[in-house]
């Protein structure tokens, strides 16, 4: 098991390093000058140069790359061009919104999807199966920003039960925060639940055809018992894979939902930083994200080994 871990950690670091290179190169060829964005139309050329000097944009490429990677290792992520605030502080203020939201959406999606998948699998080809499948078809097919808009229209504008968006801030207490998270969580969770339910169902159907299920039933275990005690765990591998992908998507792929509910999350920070050419924020944020996603993939691999003993000797799935 230890070599399995060592090997994975090494490839982890290698991938991160490659990621820093890729991101740096991509941002180098990004047209547009941050100084110009900040100083606007009437700025004179000398003020632009003064600012560029201040931001250290005139140093040669390699120097900038090396100093960035050095900063990354020491954890000092530098100062944002636009917000003039340490990048780490800026990202932290956005993580406390995106991370809980991703966690909530993930839990809600799993709590809905796994039972639905099991129900669909256990009454295969019966009305219940068809019902669950059509829910999942609809869930996948609806564009999530359209669904978010409908939610706001119903709950915030007409019923006026929930705020139409915005983030009350953790210091305003749990209840207001949960209220502002409720609609975005539903808007994020349902499409993911739709996908997860389908995957759970097909994985379960696959496993239910295996011989050991028949052995279990031959031991006198009921259909449902065989499904929950034997089939589910074997079906977890594909399910966990999808959940891993979904969680990394939920971390920063929710730009659209953050837009509709005007939540100050990571997605919008990246979108804003790119359009304002706040390259320091973009660079560090994307690396953080890549690190997070690779970490999630690593944990999924560990989960594989935990779920399926055959994987513990280090063979890859």
């Amino acid at each position: 098991m230890r070599i399995f871990l060592a090997k994975r950690v090494f490839t982890l670091l290698l991938t991160l390093l490659v990621a820093t290179l890729v991101v740096f190169v991509v941002l180098e060829i990004l047209p547009g000058d941050p100084a110009a964005v900040m100083l606007g139309i009437n700025a004179e050329t000398d003020t632009l140069n003064a600012l560029r000097e201040e931001l250290g944009l005139n140093r040669p490429v390699w120097v900038r790359y090396a100093s960035w990677v050095a900063d990354l290792v020491t954890g000092n992520l530098g100062i944002s061009y636009t917000y003039d605030v340490p990048v780490s502080e800026l990202i932290l203020s956005r993580i406390i919104v995106s991370f809980p939201l991703a966690l909530l959406a993930m839990t809600l999606s799993t709590l809905i999807a796994i039972p639905l998948g099991v129900i669909a699998a256990s009454n295969h080809n019966k009305p219940m199966d068809f019902l669950v499948m059509s829910f999942s078809q609809i869930g996948i097919a609806i564009p999530n920003f359209w669904f978010a808009m409908l939610l706001t229209l119903l709950f915030s504008v007409t019923l006026r039960l929930l705020p139409a968006g915005g983030f009350a801030g953790w210091d305003a207490g749990i209840v207001p925060v949960l209220k502002s998270f409720l609609l975005p969580t539903i808007a994020l969770a349902l499409p993911q639940a739709a996908i997860l339910a389908r995957v759970t169902r097909s994985a379960l159907l696959e496993v239910l055809q295996e011989d050991f299920i028949r052995t279990a039933r031959a031991k006198g275990i009921t259909n449902q018992g065989a499904l929950w005690k034997h089939a589910l765990r074997n079906a977890l591998i594909p399910v966990v894979t999808i959940m891993g992908l979904q969680f990394s998507f939920l971390l920063a792929g929710t730009i659209i939902i953050e837009n509709v509910f005007y939540l100050p999350g990571i997605g919008r920070l990246i979108f804003q930083a790119i359009s304002q050419r706040d390259l320091i924020v973009v660079k560090n944020l994307v690396i953080l994200l890549s690190g997070a996603v690779i970490m999630i993939n690593f944990m999924v691999d560990l989960l594989y080994a935990f779920i399926d003993p055959r994987l513990r000797e280090g063979e890859d799935v």
Partner: protein, 496 residues
Amino acid sequence: MSKIKTIVTLIVLSLGIAINASSVMAAKDTLNLGMVLEPTHLDPTAGAAASIDEVVYANIFEGLTRIDKNGAVKPGLASSWTVSEDKKTYTFNLQKGVSFHDGASFEANDVVFSLNRARGEGSVNAQKALFKPIESVTSKDSHTVVVTLTQPTGSFLFNMGWGDAIIVDKASAEKNKSNPIGTGPFKFLKWVKGDRIVMVRNDAYWGTAAKLKTATIKIIPDPAAAVSAMMAGDIDGFANFPAPESLAQFKSDPRFTVVIGSTEGETILSTNNQRGPFKNLKVRQAVAHALDRKAIIDGAMFGYGTPIGTHFAPHHPAYVDLIATHPYDLEKSKQLLAEAGYPDGFKGVIKLPPPSYARRGGEIVASQLRKIGINLEIIPVEWAQWLDQVFKKRDYDLTIVSHTEPMDIGIYARKDYYFAYDSPKFQALMQKLDATVATDARYKILGDAQRLISAECVNGFMFQLAKHGVWNKNIRGLWENSPVQANDLTEVYWVD
């Protein structure tokens, strides 16, 4: 089964009531004002974004003079001033007993520091040109400052009222970007990036205290989210509502009042006067005749906006109505194009920055010009690319942008400006304008300037951007127009 149902409905109902009750009580002395663009930071002396001034101007920071809601120059930190005969020396008498929010006292040396900082070499002030005429700034005593100019500048007092000319304290100046310390009626409390900026009443304010206890600026970039936020009652109002198409609905809703004012934003079809066919005056005239201003305003701004024939704000007394010089006339337009040597039109490129007036206006202008044979390829660009490609490298044929700086007709005198318009006649007019101080003489020169750029069709002058004010009907004191980029909350209060 029915027992469970009744319990569930009970819970939902009580939940509903609890939520609604809490939001009604707290409305009295706090204000939630919506804003579309989040300022990049809060130091107006180090950034051009209008959003910075819209938060801090007159609320947190104050300058020597102050622009009021009608665009007139009023005393600010300078309670009064005298001007020498040769109009080159200004002596400002400063308010007494004024202190910065961090307790530091406000004296003449703060003014000297602020003005020298703005015009010095390392200055990162976006409007550095405003301070160019200053020759020296000296403090005669603790509350009097003498400013000498290299040449008389009629608009100097107005310029000192700009957001970029506010007075800062040397000690806190560097930190203003994230923790603004000014002398205004509101103190900065906190800024949750991407979400909201909170200001509280400065009880030690030297002038009449603000009526609001706390004012929160809520950032809502997405127009649809803005509509929902207003409808759901999360926000009390928008100084300038982003979605003109939904104003009709707010008008019909008893909870809100809609106040349409004007801004300093001349929305023009900027033309690259040195590029291809547009070098030729006849082509530019053809374009002018092909623009149906009413259709553009109805289509892009849903009827909100006043047509303009030149680069000047219609509500300003010096405005000259020149729409008649190039009326909408497709036949004349085609004829002019033929005379210019393009009988069956030509291809061109129009680059559009993000705002909806540009993206929607661009689509309409493109379809209108298509009628006379000018086929435009539409390329939407982010602000960063617009500044780089259009503004700096002049790599464009046409673009649409709204110039919201006040009294900015002077940009036509700058040879390197992105219009690529170099007319010694106009540059001479501008020099004469700077030298004159008497208002009616200035208005006459401004009139000639307007007639010249309209006759030469430097750009396609379309319409003045309107200010779509939407707020709760019980709010008083918000500005109707915005003569300068600001949301002055000093006189805002609730009635009911």
